[in-house]
């Protein structure tokens, strides 16, 4: 990630916050008074989410996080307050929880890509969930500062890698679905691939916001003001063209056999940004074939597969059993039956195409 100017980002976020609150005929002072009734003694009151990211609409609610000194009950839930004709969601975290979460994030970001992913997937349950940690880091305080923004570097890295794993999975599924001969699902998988590619690129530039519903709008604004010279213009163009093409396909109800190639090209380009080998094996399955007598329990042509994680799935035994997974390029050379088998295994949760799965073998 090219070095970001935290001062400039802070100014931008504070402007967004003030503008968004003013549009709702309120301000930080009023928010503080509202919260005082619930939490009189606090270290920080942060405005978070769409309002500070400059994305809020007329119906967006106000998301606040209060950081307090004392230890809190683990069973707490967000509170919803109503004031100034607006719903205000308030979440409380202790200073200790926030500190431990930031430490976890910093330590995670120091590792290589596969370890980052593994740590993300095994995120400790007794600290802030990643999406709330992101809100804290991006949050604007009632003192008109961004007191946690200096953690943006580690957040960017971890979040970009998390989205990259999603892009990778969507690429695998696009290719499998297309090779298997499915007509509509490749479009759905491609949509997912392209929007996650958008998020990877933005996150690497310090524009991190965890909610997927904002990906496309954020991308539009990000590319309109693009200043990060480390973002390759070719990749931006590729993503833009693919997004436009996908929307055209949705309108026309058409399929496009070149969709998989476009998604694969995006994936390879993003791999370059992360210095990740695009030919890393896709994943592995833990499928165990039931004993022959049991596998034919249903009919002469049906095989019931089981896996150590307790899943079961019915497979047509005339097709191959998905016990091995090729590299990304090899997917398009699979037979339709083999691709269909692998796709079915992934949908049945018997096949994990995450990088963490591949790396563990």
């Amino acid at each position: 990630m090219e070095a970001v100017d935290l001062t400039e980002i802070t100014q931008h976020r504070v402007r967004n916050a003030k503008y968004a609150l003013a549009a709702r005929h309120t301000d930080f002072e009023s928010m503080s008074e509202l919260v005082n009734e619930q939490v009189p003694d606090r270290l920080q009151l942060l405005l978070t989410s769409s309002l500070v990211m400059g994305l809020s609409t007329s119906t967006s609610d106000i998301d606040l996080i209060a950081v307090v000194r004392e230890k809190l009950d683990e069973d707490r839930a967000p509170a919803q307050l109503f004031g100034h004709d607006r719903r205000v969601d308030l979440i409380l975290y202790s200073e200790d929880e926030v500190d431990r979460s930031l430490k976890q994030l910093t330590e995670t970001a120091e590792h290589d890509l596969p370890v980052i992913l593994r740590r993300f997937r095994e995120w400790p349950p007794d600290i802030l969930r990643p999406k709330y940690l992101e809100r804290v880091i991006n949050g604007v305080s009632s003192e008109l500062a961004c007191p946690y923004l200096h953690h943006l570097g580690p957040l960017s890295r971890v979040w970009a890698i998390r989205s990259f794993d999603q892009l990778r999975a969507a690429t695998v599924h696009t290719l499998l679905a297309q090779t298997a001969g499915e007509r509509r699902s490749p479009l759905a998988y491609a949509l997912r691939a392209v929007t996650h590619a958008m998020d990877v690129v933005m996150s690497l530039s310090g524009d991190v916001y965890s909610n997927p519903k904002w990906y496309a709008l954020r991308w539009e604004r990000f590319t309109a003001r693009l200043v990060d010279r480390s973002v390759p213009p070719d990749l931006v163009d590729l993503i833009d063209r693919s997004w436009a093409d996908l929307k055209a396909l949705l309108r026309s109800g058409s399929a496009d056999d070149a969709m998989g190639d476009a998604v694969l090209a995006i994936y390879r380009s993003v791999c370059g940004q992360l210095a990740f080998d695009p030919d890393t094996p896709v994943g592995a399955s833990d499928v165990v074939i039931a004993a022959p007598t049991e596998s034919r329990a249903l009919s002469a042509e049906a095989t019931m597969l089981t896996s150590p994680n307790g899943r079961v799935a019915l497979f047509n035994s005339t097709g191959p059993v998905p016990t091995s997974v090729p590299t990304m390029d090899a997917i398009q050379r699979l037979s339709p039956a083999a691709a269909a088998g692998l796709l079915r295994a992934s949908r049945s949760k018997m096949l994990d195409v995450s990088i963490t799965s591949a790396e563990s073998r």
Binding site: L55, T57, S58, T59, S60, D61, D75, R76, A77, P78, A79, Q80, F82, R87, Q166, A169, A170, H173, A177, E182, R183, R184, S185, L187, A188, Y189, L191, R192, T195, P212, K213, W214, Y215, A216, L217, W219, E220, R241, S242, D245, K247, L249, L250, R251, S252, G253, S254, A255, D256, D257, A258, M259, A262, S346, R347, K349
Partner: protein
């Protein structure tokens, strides 16, 4: 992707009359279901519809001049409906990776008897750059139809007094689960995820 590589045969016909879609047919008909197996997914479905479903519609109502945002909202709502569809079938929801793909290939069966074409049209996914107000009206109409047809009242925590409604629903569900000898522990997890 190029114009010349497009297949000519359309994958779906556009146009769906919401009035022709039957919502929650099996739930309303009455099917033999074991409480021990079915209560938890049913309650989680209620939760998803009451919280996330409402939030998507609320978000959409502010997105008239933001077509990019509307597309991703529609996708999010579609994925939610697929998750609820799986739960009402009594199966585990598909991973996020596959939910939209499921809708695109097969539509819905429990939330609505609607093939892929009808679902895409009802959600407006076949009009990714459609007029904002029309697209929002479409989503609101769909949501109203879902609420109208759902055979239980969904609490609304997004309005004043709504959290009280939600807490009352949670208490009812807790009693229901205990009477069926189902562990109600997951209710606390749902509440924490608000």
């Amino acid at each position: 992707m190029t114009e010349s590589s497009h297949q000519q045969q359309p994958l779906w016909a556009t146009g769906a009359d919401l009035a022709q879609i039957e919502f929650f047919p099996r739930l309303r008909f009455g099917m033999p279901r074991h409480g021990f197996v079915y209560l938890r997914p049913f309650i989680v479905s209620c939760w998803h519809l009451a919280i996330s479903g409402r939030t998507y519609i609320e978000d959409a109502e502010g997105a008239a001049n933001l077509p990019s945002y509307l597309v991703t909202l529609k996708v999010g709502l579609a994925e939610l409906l697929v998750a609820v569809d799986c739960l009402l079938q009594g199966i585990e929801p598909l991973d996020d990776h596959h939910r939209l793909a499921m809708l695109f290939e097969h539509g819905l069966s429990e939330v609505a008897v609607a093939d892929a074409a009808r679902c895409l049209s009802a959600l407006g996914l076949d009009h990714p750059d459609g007029d904002g107000e029309s697209e929002i009206a479409k989503l609101v109409a769909l949501w109203d139809a879902i609420q109208e047809a759902f055979p239980a009242e969904l609490p609304n925590p997004l309005v004043p007094g709504g959290q009280g409604e939600l807490l009352r629903a949670l208490r009812s569900w807790d009693r229901l689960l205990r009477s069926a000898e189902v562990d109600p522990g997951f209710l606390a997890d749902l509440y924490r995820m608000l």
